[in-house]
Symmetry: C2
Subunit: 402 residues, 2 copies
């Protein structure tokens, strides 16, 4: 089966979230992504959450659809094989994706001497090359102080900067490869995690808000900023998010709940135009009081029955368990989802790429490779090594299989 990126080959030397996600995003679209690790695994090989058998679910879930090669990267012989894989010929090859320190054997100068049109994507913590991780970038972003209700900063648990960085890497890699097809030239492409954060804060207008308005957006709990929305408690102790951004969504709430007139009366009382986002935002406390009472009198099931198909923009709060068990989107009915064997457990629901390409059926998610699973195959196929040469490298401890 041809997939959209079939033929493209990327070598990844990575750890943690961002760079592995960048590689997996391309692998899930059909690229041949070869992750090279030191024998025994890199620093992320045992990260939580883990399965009872010790497998890192984190590692497995960020390395699906890749091939795995294990090399003694602390030896000249192991590094030489890594260099050979990175710089092997082929117009759709010669691409390295990494977030690891690259001075020495893996720097752009050294590698591009072996393949002049090399494309190298390099993720660092800060733009000057100094270290930073999602957590130390996040605290600087302003978002933890704007999250929650009071002065105590609340870190979001989602490693959002890592995820965005991974997807900038996949975008940047395809952009550089497109340019290479046209110009014949490769290049080094750099990205830093704190630049991803700064760009995102800027893209949402918060940097400009400070500079143009001297305004620092305050924390306001779960309220939407500049629009209408919040969480509401149900009679059975669940919570739902209700949002109205468009006027259509706003009117749908009144119609579905039967509260059209009660809600409309807030406008004159508060002297705002409820047919505007700003008006609804300013009158939100009054509106929330009305919806709070309505939700508190109904169970989640009752609310769902009223809202589903009504045009109301809403959803239940779920923990990870409820997401897996109760959400119909997290099921094989969703074409993105597949079932894989994970850490000896059969039928584990697993996402593939969220991108669907009309011309091809979805690439079904696959289990992650075992560490070193493809070492022999890759060395034979890409470097043309014979079985006996591969055997000698095993004996010397330069390479390892699964």
């Amino acid at each position: 089966m041809e997939h959209v990126l079939s033929g493209l080959r990327v070598v990844e030397v990575s750890a943690f979230i961002a760079a592995p996600l960048g590689g997996m995003t391309l692998a899930q679209l059909g690229a041949d992504v070869i992750r090279i690790d030191p024998i025994g695994g890199n620093i992320d090989y045992r990260r939580w959450p883990r399965a009872p058998n010790g497998d890192s679910l984190y590692w497995a879930c960020l390395n699906r659809s890749k091939r795995s090669v294990a090399l003694a990267l602390d030896t000249p012989a192991g590094r030489e094989i890594a260099q050979a894989l990175i710089t092997a010929p082929g117009k759709d090859a010669g691409i390295l994706l990494t977030n690891l320190p690259t001075s020495g054997w893996m720097d752009y100068m050294t590698l591009s001497a072996k393949r002049a049109d090399l494309i190298m994507l390099r993720l660092t913590g800060n733009y000057d090359g100094s270290g930073a991780v999602d957590y130390t970038v996040n605290c600087a972003s302003g978002f933890p102080i704007a999250t929650g209700l009071d002065e105590v900063p609340v870190n979001h648990v989602l490693p959002a900067w890592d995820i965005a960085a991974g997807l900038y890497l996949s975008t940047g890699l395809l952009a550089a490869e497109r340019a290479r097809v046209r110009s014949g030239s490769g290049q080094e492409v750099t990205l830093s995690l704190s630049d991803v954060m700064l760009a995102s804060v800027g893209n949402l207008g918060y940097l400009a808000d400070v500079q143009v308005n001297n305004n620092v957006r305050p924390p306001m709990g779960n309220d939407l900023y500049g629009a209408l929305g919040r969480d509401f408690k149900t009679a059975d102790g669940r919570r739902v998010m209700i949002v109205a951004i468009s006027n259509r969504q706003w009117h749908a709430i009144g119609k579905a709940t039967g509260l059209t007139n009660v809600l409309a009366s807030v406008g004159p009382r508060m002297n705002v135009d409820l047919n505007s986002e700003t008006g609804r935002f300013h009158a939100r406390r009054e509106i929330f009081n009305i919806l709070e009472a309505w939700c508190a009198a109904r169970s989640l099931t009752e609310i769902a029955a009223v809202f589903d198909g009504s045009g109301v923009l809403w959803g239940p709060y779920q923990d990870f368990g409820q997401l897996v068990r109760d959400d119909p989107r997290c099921s094989l009915a969703n074409p993105m989802m597949g079932a894989v064997v994970q850490s000896t457990v059969d039928g584990v629901l697993t996402p593939g790429s969220p991108l669907g390409f009309g011309k091809a059926s979805r690439r079904q998610p696959t289990a992650a490779p075992a560490l070193g699973q493809h070492t022999d195959a890759v060395l034979s196929e890409i470097l043309g090594l014979s079985d006996s040469a591969i055997g000698k490298l095993h004996d010397a401890g330069t390479i390892a299989g699964a």
Copy 2:
């Protein structure tokens, strides 16, 4: 100046965050991204935050480096021009990016009848086409319930799903264009916001954790999960994030603070190996107590003097104002940042693309276009309309300039 995506042309019919960010990501790399809006602006044209003159900073910051065309999209004549722009010839053109309802004049069938190799990226709320936004996807993700300290869900303020969706769109667009160059075929590419959420929750191992371990990761405040890190209060009322993921980072904390022996004594006392992430995670309360006292006795400036250059992974918490004023990364010293005129204010620090391409100087950030600023130029250049034809379209109210 040639930029990495120079020559690529994308038409965007969009609103809000995800699709505009996808387009801007490509525009910042040199693609000609033409955003088409209804005359007067789309539903996102006045969103908060706004400048004193009424400009939406949100809109401006998500539409930089694009060209803007304003058309009467509620009329057949306006839609016909939009179709002509989307399906205009050119091997690097014929690409539509949208998150708006596409039934009718903008659906793939209709448009691909006008240009067979059309590439169309279409973002929806859910995979079945039903509506969802960042907020109603987020509540379902499990993250608000895992965020903060107790049972009350805490929404993160960062629209992380929108940002990820935008970057999946830029990745998917380049992937589909790469495939078109090779096959000659265009296609419809679909993405849903809730699939982006599900894929991300799955990629981080949380779906597998539920299914393999029957474990639902609990909220634990600002503590890292499975590693060592948390926020600490300083003597002057600020907070800092301190993290140790690698052993090197862990030992750096002891060395910098002079607490090596005190910290090491926690290991035997708690019967854990502090040279492992898991050991440090299990002993975190004891470790935190020691670091809490150390931080509480020092100001942020004193802590920075000790930690900077020490190998400790740390950072101060900042609000958006402190990020702009105090963070050296948010300055013109950072090659990503530039200064633009924004809403009559001069010298507003603004990010360009976080991706740096070695072969080209950075594309400096530019102010967003005024709505309709490029209507006449685009209609002349791409559709070959004469000045008099353009004048007639203005007179008929079919098009509008800035």
